[in-house]
Structures are given as C-alpha cells and as structure tokens.
C-alpha cells in the first residue's frame, strides 16, 4: 500500500510538472499583454516594467526561474494586485472554493444516491420515470441558468436565502444547489443503473431466499454493491465542480479561486493564471489518488497494483 502511494505521488509530481510546463508556454503564446495601457507607455517605461517582471530574459531562463519558484511554493507576484504574491492570493481564496465544492459534492452525491436508489427499487413505475426526466433536466440545464433562476425565484421573490455574497451559511445554500445539481443528476442516473443491475443479480436473489426483507436486502447487500462504482465518478465530479465554480462564484459574488481565475484571465495576469491552474491540477490529482485508495478499501476485489497487502 505505502509503496503504491509513493509511486502514485511520483506520478502526481510528474503530472504537475507537465501541467506547469504546458501552461507556462501557453501563457507566452497568448495574445495581448499584461499592461492595461501599453499603447500609452514609453519605451523606457516598458523596459523598466519588463525588467521588473523578468520579461527581458530569454524564454528558457524565465521558465527555469518559474520552475524553481514553484518548487518552493512560489508562484510569483500577481500583476493585478501589485506586490501580492500569487500564493498568498490563492491562499486567501481557496477556503471559500473548497467549502463550496465540498458542499456541492456532498449535496449532489447524497440526494443523487437517494433518488437513484428509489428509482431503481421502483423501476418501470412513474416514480422511476419522474426521476429519469428530472435527472435529464438536471444534466442539461447549464448551472449558470439554474443559478440565475434560483437567485430570481428563491432569493428575490421568496426571499428565503440571500441573493449573493459569502460569509454566512445561508449564503452558501443557493450556490451549493446551483453547483451540485449536475453531480446530483449524474449520480442519480448512475446509481439507478448500477442498482438495477445489482437488484437483478443472483446474490440478491440468494439474499432474498435467506428470508431477508426487501429493506434488509437493500441495506445489507444492494446499496453497498451499487454504490462502490460511484467512487470512480469522484474525479470527473471534481473537474465539473472546478469549472462550474468559475461561473457560479462570479454569479454569486463569492471570493473564491474560480472567480479569481476568471478575473486573472481577463487581465492577462500570467502568474495568477498559472498558479491557479496548478492549484486546480493539484486538487484533481489528489482527488484521483484518494479515489483509488478509497476504491481499494471498500471493494475487496480490488487490490492496488504493486501493493502486497
């Protein structure tokens, strides 16, 4: 197990290195410049600025300096907020994003499992059909549309929750729903399919033949077996939550890294773009590692490659 995790961590570092390299060169190829008033700047001003940010050095040297910084957790200085290290900028905003993402994930998976399981148990009835239609809607309505609808009807008309902002728990409800409905719909569909498979399997029949009631059969045998494959969706969910957060954080005015990321792209704030990309990638590779470990812990049939236990 330890050996496997160490190997995976080595791969993670390699992945991050590749991501860092690709973003670095993509940044350099991006049109536009970080200076808002470049047209009005004199040659001297430009030269001084370029020197200050190291843009006058050859590309490979900039790359090496950048990588060396990364190793120490230094993403450089933000262009947008003068003298603010990117790491500090991200650090101050990651909490909100992580909380929102986690809440959305829990909300989506929890209700998705319940809806999917009920649909499977009541398969081919109106309950099942309703659940299927709802999850198709949930999957196809873009989260920003849903976000605006929630703001208008729930916040503005009904006044149940604040319309935007961040700080109190009630402010987190609407963005959590807006962000979590996608994973919820996906989970419901996935669990329904997987649960129907399970419920029609031989071992469920044997469990019934033991004299267990339907509730006992589901609780003791069906639920665990149909939820295990759900773990593999954790990675894709993380990706969809990350991209979703860029939109949702903007709509609900949440001070997270998603919102920051969009701002930094609009202003060509290269160090922040690169720093955020790497943080996102880091988050994803960690989730993928956790996925594998969790999978091997809950499914006795899976043994991690290269582990001896």
């Amino acid at each position: 197990m330890t050996k496997y995790i160490l190997k995976r961590i080595a791969y993670m570092i390699l992945t991050l290195f590749i991501v860092a390299t690709i973003t670095f060169f993509l940044m350099k190829m991006m049109p536009g410049s970080p200076y808002t008033n470049e047209a009005k700047m004199t040659k001297t001003q430009l030269r001084i600025m370029n020197e200050q940010y190291g843009f006058n050095k050859p590309l490979w040297e900039q790359y090496v300096i950048y990588l060396a910084g990364l190793v120490h957790g230094d993403f450089g200085i933000s262009f947008q907020y003068s003298n603010m290290p990117v790491s500090q900028l991200i650090g101050s905003r990651i909490g909100a994003s992580a909380q929102l993402g986690l809440q959305a994930m829990i909300f989506g998976v929890f209700f998705g499992v319940i809806i999917g399981a009920i649909a499977a148990i009541k398969r081919n009835t109106w309950v099942d059909t309703t659940a299927t239609v709802l999850s198709i809607i949930g999957k196809s309505v873009p989260n920003f549309v849903l976000a605006v609808l929630l703001q208008y009807y729930i916040a503005l008309k009904l006044g149940w929750f604040p319309i935007a902002g961040w700080g109190t728990f009630s402010q987190t409800i609407l963005p959590t729903i807006a962000l979590g409905v996608g994973p919820l719909a996906e989970t419901a569909r996935f669990v329904r399919t997987s649960m129907v498979d399970t419920l029609t399997s031989d071992y469920i029949e044997l469990a019934t033949a033991k004299g267990l009631s339907l509730t006992q059969v589901i609780r003791k045998h069906a639920l665990r077996n149909s939820m295990i494959p759900l773990v593999t969706l954790l990675g894709p969910y993380t990706v969809s939550l990350m991209t979703g957060s860029m939109v949702i954080e903007n709509i609900f005015n949440i001070p997270g890294i998603g919102e920051q990321f969009v701002k930094s792209i609009l202003t060509n704030d290269y160090p922040t773009i690169m720093g955020t990309t790497i943080v996102f990638s880091l988050g994803l590779v960690i989730v993928l590692l956790i996925t594998d470990i969790v999978y091997s812990l809950i499914d006795p049939r899976i043994r991690l490659q290269g582990s001896d236990a």
């Binding site: 031989d202 071992y203 033949a209 033991k210 004299g211 009631s213 003791k220 665990r224 006795p300 049939r301």
Partner: protein, 348 residues
Amino acid sequence: MSERILDVKNLKIDFHTYAGEVKAIRNVSFHLDKGETLAIVGESGSGKSVTTRSIIGLLAGNAEIMGGSIKFHDQEMLNNSEKDWQSIRGNKIAMIFQDPMTSLDPTMKIGQQIAEPLMKHKHVPKKEAWARALEMMKAVGITNAEERINEYPHQFSGGMRQRIVIAIALICEPEILLADEPTTALDVTIQAEILDLMKDLQKRVKTSIIFITHDLGVVAGMADRVAVMYAGELLEYGNVDEIFYNPQHPYTWGLINSMPTLHIEKLESIPGTPPDLLDPPKGDPFAPRNKYALRADVEAKPPFFKVSPTHYASTWLLDPRAPHVEPPAEIKRRWAKYRELQAAKSNS
C-alpha cells in the same frame, strides 16, 4: 408410511408477457416426504425452476398462480403474506442456485453471509452465529476455515463457493432444501464431490431435498423418487428404480436413451422442440415429438395410469385398449432387468 411435508396439487402458473399468457405450469401435482430426495428432471424450459421457485415464493414479478395448492405441513403456502414467506425462506425451506460464481455477495465476508440466516431467523447474536458459521464451513469441507471465514467470495473456487452456498442453505437446518441444478456449472469431478456432500449433510440435518436437473445421469445416485416434467406438465413419476428400469412414458424413454451409459452405443437425442407455451397442445404435450404417440395422445390429455402404488405415467399407451407398441431396445433391456429384479424380490 413416512410423514408428508409438502403436497403440491394441480398447480397452475402463468406468466404475463407482451406476447400473451405463457402457461408455464399446468396442473402439476407431486409430494415430498420427510427425509427423502425427489428429483425433478426434464429438458430446458420444462418448468422445473418455476415449480421450485413457487415453493419458496420467489416467482418473477410477471408470474401469476392461476390455481392449485402448495401445502407445507398444514400451511397453505399460496395464502402466505410476504412476511410469512420471509419467516419460511432460509429457515424452513432453503434454496441453492445454479451458478455459485454469482450467488454470493462479492463485498461481504463469507462468515457474515453464512451467519446471516441464523441471525435473521433464530435471533442468534453475531458472535455465536459466526461460531456456528465456522462449524458449518468445516461441515461442508472448507479447510482452514478459521482463516477463510474472513475472506471474500472471489478468493474461492467455484466448487468451494457452492459449498459455501450449501452452508448458507443448511445453517438453519431447513426441512426442505431446493437445489436447482446445483452442479451444472461445475466440473464433473467437483460435481460428484458436491453431490456426495449433499447426501452426507442430508442425513445429518435430516432435510428433504427437491433436486432439479436436466441430467438423468446424476439422478440415479441422488434421488429416492423421480418426477419427469415436460413443457409445464408432469408426465411420469415413480421410485428411482421404476423410472430407470420400468419407464412407461415415451418421453422418459427418450431421456433414458439420450443418457450416456455403457449399454448404449449411439446416443439418441429427442428430435424436435418443445411446444409453444402460449398455446399448449390439448393432448399429451409430448405427442408432436413422439413417434410412439397414439391418436388419442394428440387429442386428449391422458390421465395418470397407475403402474404401481408409487409409479404413475400419463400416456394413453397404458390404456388397456391401446395397441401394442415396441419400445426402443435399450428400454426393453431395462424392462427385462426390472422383471428379474421383481422376481428376485418376490422369491426372497
């Protein structure tokens, strides 16, 4: 006479399908006595599984019992509520399924799976139930049981898994064990081991067995009595010797002729296919494939003619007015042997 524990009378089961009503079981009657083994044999689709499943209340959702009765002791099973069924299943009547590779929960420890019926029905605390499960694992011949009790199904071979399934079925010492082709999915050598194990445990637990198979070959060593099923009906039943050495229904002849033995050089499979159960034939269902069939067999359902107090067959060939037909050579050889046996019996 031994105690009768199960009495099935005129059972009729339909399946509702898009194509119409599949009349899968039509007027099937049989009984089971305490401690005996009844084999139900017949080709694929003859209704063996549906019949057994009805005894434990595990019919598919589109099935409907159209009539008849299933009596377990004095209890009419067809009046059972779901709760009644739950208290019987795995407790008084247990079932073993065909495919051991898929019959066990892949994510639950073997010990828990074996202990589960005991905890459910006898309200035995977990620790004690596991101790009983361990004993049971030893009884079904799993070596190193102390360690293996904590393992998962994928760590066992097919034969071992079927032993585990048997342990699950027998842990509550049921009165009836329904075994639906328990060895079909296994290697021949392992088949024999599992059959021996079942016979051995049957004596210890004192259970009656309904043993389903399409392979007459395994019946001889296993069963006390045999019921021959075809296209949803029973055609002949009797003691194992009567069925093997004095068969009367041409379908039974066909089954025996297609069974590999030392005496038959050329195996003959029965030509043709079973009838469509959406619209079953009005006479003997086997008549269309039966070269010995009389006109009466096609036109009217033959009653059960008594061959001996324990042996009945449903064919007009047994009617006193029927013309003489010459059975296949192998059957004649068996009849001759049967007469010898009978003569030897009455002499001694």
